[in-house]
Assembly symmetry: C2
Homo-oligomer: 602 residues x 2
């Protein structure tokens, strides 16, 4: 079979053969370890057609494989048809990762060192063992990829902390410098885009859904150098932002100048020590650092910005509370519209529903776009955890069964993420049972109280146990951190089955989204966003719990009360009553009246 | 203040000063990393008077400290009074372990290398840093300790697997040899007494409560050498055991000959590789090994016997099921006796109750002693998780409030462990609430279903959440592994708040014992023993759950049904009905009639 993807893979193979490379490993990320790469770096998509958010390719002379996780198994099988690319499952028992797979199969492996982090390349090199070689060819696909997109350059804006919450950049830089003193390092190089955006209080739109600016940041006790494309420097907002930054002591330099800045170690008057985070720093830039700095002058570790960013400040929390109420207004308007349209017999398809939701959200003050691609899925489509709604020919939403909508907005005052599964009319017993079991898990986790020091992986089973008792499960995490007008997925905390020792701390904002997927039938996911907070102190210790930020009712028509149990039922009724009380004054009268009915206690 | 303990400590200090030792670190264990050391090795007790099961001492010129965990905080404060020994808390947030504490305070530290494992000594040496020195003085206290007990020598018996379940020793040795081939080692040295007893199917009574024989075992592809005290070799059972072992190819050698056996590496015809487990092997014997074997010929790791022993065979499981029923007969007879005595106004104290329980247990066929010291505690005494009932002047059990009894038997067909908290009459609301919350946690964990691969630490929160929601907690683990006519505490699995990656496997037998302690008031602990088993396979994976082995009713008089909730209440009624159904035919008529009343559904 031949299609444009298999042709591209063959073209790459020809280059590999010419150069004596046994395998090419293509990253699904960019030079900044971003979850969503800009089009320029969507190399996996260009080579294979796969559009999932997580996936890496390995091409050898006789094999082409895509490594991705359970969220994308079904999607991958569809999208890879005819490409010759085979699916390799990750995060399943007995999974073989790329490094182990390569071991024994390849000696010389080529990577685009810009798009792989230091740790990942080291893992590959270690797996190849003695005699193995990792060749770094930055922009490896450049010559094959006609009209490859450029590095994006979009207007840059700075955040006004007085209006939108957060901490002034000068304070953040002071905090970082204090950390550097304690750590005994002279310079910190940041390359993760959300860490940079957080530190400088800057936002852009270089990457879809993520309000980020492609750049590097180098901080020392004396100066702060921001390496960024200046292409739209004639944009007035960008110009203002640059002057504001410079007034705060941030030197704005060209993106590519970072290589020179890192290479001038020898010109330093006294030896300096550089801190890097090899789990996000790209391999290519690291080769410059390794050449310029003596090994003992490079300190590796986890960037301190990650944890600091995850713990929201009181002003950020206050803003997020309001933002989630505003976002709830859009959601309720959408859900009311959808129910009315479908009930009156109009043929609304998934795509139209998705577009309409975005329109409702766009009316919220401070809206700056969606925080990820809307998942608008009816029936079997919802069984794909990360279903991508097709623009043409998407499924029509019928007045029965389950419709799942997972969406979120970027607002100047926070990032939102919410999933509701909507019973569109009659549901089967199995749909109701799944709907209720997942809801019970979500509620049980919402009600959890836990000692300070508890990590998300220690309470993950609370959300899963109602499903587990019926021998049902879902393949993804229960909760991810959420940024403040930043990435919709952020660390370091998570609520997962897998071990992650990071304790949940007061101020962390995390999703709570258990689910269930039945291929070819239906999918259920209920997602609220919860804020970890102090619950009190007792003679038995210091306690934390969750405050739910998301403000949007759960439909009770598919709830089986006996499955939910009295405690969760009470929570549900209380929650729906709070949603009505909070949103009714903000909603159009007909939507408010409709919501009153939807939130009646059961 | 001066008492006999402070005098002994001062005597040790004089020796330390003479030798130029800054600190002496005294272990609460023996040369085999046993949890319960024989009297000879109860050095912590001899020096400080502390009798807890876990505790190590550090003596410096100006400080004496006992390191122990929350189970013994209250006990330690009482027992250490007047000794000058201060309590250092372990397993609490911010706890400073012995190695860190020594760091900077001492340069030369003396240890009895026989009683510290290799890892522990390495940790101390690492903490001392450059210029630090760990001096190994085996039997360090020998000269100070008048009439120090000898190494115990008790009759040895072998288990008849046809009668009592288990696997023949020849099969176990074959299994170990296969493991050695796969691991690429020529010899395995076992020093943990329960690993040796399991491998050889031998039992003794060298250690109170644990049917073990003090010995070492050295296994190669060609021979099996058991190093053991032969002092009672004129005992006919012991003689029979030795011949039986020798018929199976086990050479019985003298205990001390292990040092020679390990030192003869240079006489080997071809170089051999030795496997040791540095987490249990004592430091002193390791110095012999390090002298005799080149470093590359010593392989360190976790002994494979630990996991193999923890996964009970079908015949062991069958025997344990019956043993737990027999043990339940003793428990119900005891509980009936206790209730009757107290109700009729007799003054039964904790000690008498404990003795009576042992008498009931001693009537069970196959009984070989208790598996640990009975905890028989009324009222405030029960607030000490490991209360030691005094022979004289123990509390009288009154017809109100809570009595806690934690006990277990050693039987030829298994080891038991059970805790019941008994409402003796009227209880306060707080007693009832605590009683019910702990019971709910125990029941929730009993009902858990989980995917294959799940570790105990991932479901620990299931047992704690009812307490956590009321900001209550307990400081010990929820569950420990249990041996088969071996130690009542064994690994590698556990159900704990702390991380332990060992998955729960079908065949593992573990305790389920959440609790709550209110100092000066009352204590609640409910403990059943559960068997992990296969629950089924679904489209969502492979599932495990628990079968409860313990067969003894829970008193419902202190249960608050609304706190328990409908699901746990149904479990409780079903469980009590099963206990009655199972035990009634085995009980005296009056006890059976009493049990019928006690197990009526609520």
């Amino acid at each position: 079979m031949v299609n444009k993807y298999s042709e591209r893979i063959d073209a790459l193979r020809a280059v590999m053969e010419k150069n004596g490379w046994d395998a090419a490993v293509i990253s699904g990320s960019d030079p900044h370890s971003s979850e969503y790469p800009a089009p320029r770096w969507q190399q996996v998509k260009w080579l294979s057609g796969f559009t999932g958010e997580a996936g890496d390719l390995v091409i050898t002379r006789d094999h082409a494989g895509l490594w991705t996780d359970s969220r994308y198994f079904i999607q991958a099988l569809t999208q890879l048809e005819g490409t010759g690319v085979e699916l390799h499952k990750t995060r399943v028992p007995g999974a073989v990762g790329i490094p182990q797979w390569l071991s024994g199969k390849a000696k010389t492996v080529v990577v685009d060192g810009l798009c792989w982090n230091v740790d990942a390349v080291k893992e590959i090199a270690d797996a190849l063992g003695e005699g193995g070689l990792v060749v770094d060819v930055p922009d490896m696909l450049e010559d094959l990829w006609e009209n490859r997109p450029q590095i994006p350059v979009t207007p840059i804006t700075t955040l006004d902390v007085d209006t939108f919450g957060g901490t002034p950049r000068t304070e953040k830089i002071s905090w970082l410098r204090k950390w550097m003193l304690l750590k005994g390092v002279d310079r910190v190089l940041l390359s993760s885009l959300d860490e940079i955006a957080w530190t400088l209080n800057v936002r852009g739109s270089d990457i879809e859904y993520n309000p980020l600016v492609i750049s590097y940041l180098l901080v020392s006790q004396d100066d702060v150098k921001w390496f960024v494309k200046k292409g739209v420097a004639d944009d007035p907002d960008t110009l203002d932002s640059f002057s504001e930054l410079e007034m705060d002591g941030v030197e704005v330099e060209d993106y590519d100048a970072v290589f020179f800045a890192l290479s001038d170690f020898s010109s330093e008057q006294s030896p300096v020590t550089l801190f890097i985070d090899p789990s996000t720093l790209n391999h290519h830039i690291n080769t410059y650092i390794q050449d310029a700095y003596p090994a003992e002058r490079i300190v590796c570790g986890t960037s301190p910005v990650i944890l600091e960013k995850a713990v929201k400040t009181p002003s950020e929390i206050e803003s997020m509370r309001q933002t989630y109420i505003d976002d709830g207004v859009a959601m309720e308007c959408f859900l009311h519209w959808l129910e009315t349209e479908v009930a009156t017999g109009r043929e609304v398809d998934e795509w139209e529903a998705s577009e309409r939701l975005t329109q409702f959200r766009a009316q919220i003050p401070g809206y700056r776009g969606n925080s990820f691609e809307n998942i608008s899925a009816y029936g079997p489509g919802a069984a794909l955890p990360h279903y991508s709604t097709p623009r043409e020919g998407s499924a029509v939403i019928r007045p029965f069964g389950l419709y799942l909508v997972d969406s979120g907005g970027q607002y100047l005052t926070g990032t939102t993420d919410i999933t509701r599964t909507v019973p569109m009319g009659d549901c089967t017993d199995l749909e109701k049972e799944d709907y209720t079991l997942v809801l019970k898990g979500m509620i049980d986790l919402s009600m959890a109280v836990f000692p300070r020091g508890t990590a998300g992986c220690q309470i993950d089973s609370i959300a899963r146990m109602p499903l587990w008792k019926k021998m049902r499960n879902f393949g993804h995490g229960t909760g991810h951190g959420i940024g403040y007008y930043l990435c919709v997925h952020e660390g370091p905390q998570s609520i997962r089955y897998q071990y992650n020792p990071q304790p949940l701390l007061p101020g962390m904002v995390t999703s709570n989204e258990p689910a269930l997927y039945r291929e070819g039938m239906h999918g259920v996911r209920h997602e609220n966003i919860v804020l970890c907070r102090e619950a009190g102190i007792s003679e038995f210790g210091d306690w934390l719990d969750f405050e739910t930020l998301t403000c949007c009712h759960f439909d009770t028509s598919a709830v089986v009360p006996e499955i939910l149990g009295p405690e969760a039922l009470e929570w549900l009724n209380d929650y729906n009553a709070w949603v009505y009380r909070t949103l009714a004054p903000l909603l159009p009268a007909d939507t408010a009246a409709w919501l009153r009915d939807k939130t009646m206690p059961i």
